[in-house]
């Protein structure tokens, strides 16, 4: 028997045991942590014994459903304010009441210096840092003398054009995809820019969000 299959068997036995204890009233299902069972179950899933996994999963789901049912009952009883007051009429001591308060307090995050000016300045600083750290290396092209090369290599390399485009575009970001081509009527230039965008996206220097049609850094 494989290790995963063995763990699956053990989980199944464990769930049966929990169900027995819940039925006998030994444990309260609301106090029982089920996340670990589902996490373990997830780890053991294997196509070779999927039927066993499914059965254990169904058992675990039944247990979870029972927990939800109990929780629903509990939340329903919250509306009954008389019971709430009745509990207080029992005159519980101050220590017991304070125990109810434990782990119910939270610390708020409020930062007054977080002004819009501060955020905007931070964004610009971060943008500059990112720009400085980015360096496109020139393509290395070796040509031995006498060799015929079908494409003529322009004086300014592709990387130079790409870097130039990147420098001029970064200021516009974030912006809609179409805005990059604003004012450009030459189809060749539009195509060129499109190619640069594809390269920058591939390099991960800029990003694109499909849902909002937005290019951003």
């Amino acid at each position: 028997m494989e290790e995963g299959e063995e763990i699956n068997e053990m989980l199944s036995i464990k769930i049966d045991e929990i169900q027995k204890q819940v039925k006998s009233g030994k444990i309260n299902i609301l106090n029982y942590e089920l996340v670990s069972i589902f996490t373990e179950l997830q780890k053991t899933i294997n196509v070779n014994y999927l039927d066993k996994n499914s059965k254990t999963y169904m058992k675990a789901c039944n247990l979870l459903e029972k927990k939800f049912e109990e929780l629903r009952k509990l939340l329903g009883s919250l509306d009954n304010e008389k019971k709430f007051i009745e509990y207080l009429k029992l005159d519980p001591d101050d220590g017991e009441i304070n125990q109810l308060f434990d782990m119910c307090w939270r610390t708020t995050f409020n930062l007054d210096p977080l002004s819009l000016e501060f955020l905007e300045a931070s964004r610009k600083k971060l943008g500059k840092l990112e720009k400085k750290s980015y360096n496109i290396e020139h393509l290395k092209m070796s040509r031995k003398s006498g060799e015929y090369f079908i494409l003529s290599v322009p004086e300014q390399g592709f990387s130079d054009h790409l870097l130039e485009f990147y420098d001029s575009t970064i200021e516009k970001l974030p912006c809609f995809f179409d805005e990059i081509f604003d004012g450009e009527h030459d189809q060749i230039k539009i195509y060129e820019k499109f190619v640069y965008i594809l390269h920058l996206l591939q390099l991960g220097k800029i990003k694109f969000q499909k849902e909002t049609n937005t290019l951003y850094i």
């Binding site: 304070n98 307090w105 909002t212």
Partner: protein
Amino acid sequence: MKITNELSILMQLLSKKTNAIQIGATEEEILDTLNIKDKNKSFEFQNLINYLSYHLEPLGLQLRFNPLDDHWFLTFDYDTTDVISANPFKDQPRLGATLFYTLACCFSNSGVGKIDEIRNLRKKKFVIEDLKELEKLGYLKIDKYNGDVRLTSLIGYTLDLNALFMKIALKLKEE
């Protein structure tokens, strides 16, 4: 929609302290500041809240809602940060217990509790002094002419009411 500028504005709105008992912003304030006015604004708002919440999680922050004054605000997440959920009444159980009785009375009377009712339930002589102390701490307001006590919104920021209700319900179940 989901760009740095909007998130920056949201962070600023949700972390600002308006006064000693108010933090963050309401849905209306947020929509107004972001100039979101179309008919799907509630949907847009939910999207923004979900998006911000997703990005705040790795920073150890959580987005919360205060039902007492309808404000959205931020808290530290105890599971991912070193911030400890300290009970401010740990060394003053008497005061904490009086606050608890006040909460019970206020919640069972649409937010306004009667001083006499709290005193009768608490069965202690020092109730008035405790209530005055709690008022100083900003948790409640006393209307001595009508004999009323009203909770301030501060309790909705600092106390996880859902967690407290759950613990009370469990306690009642045990009893």
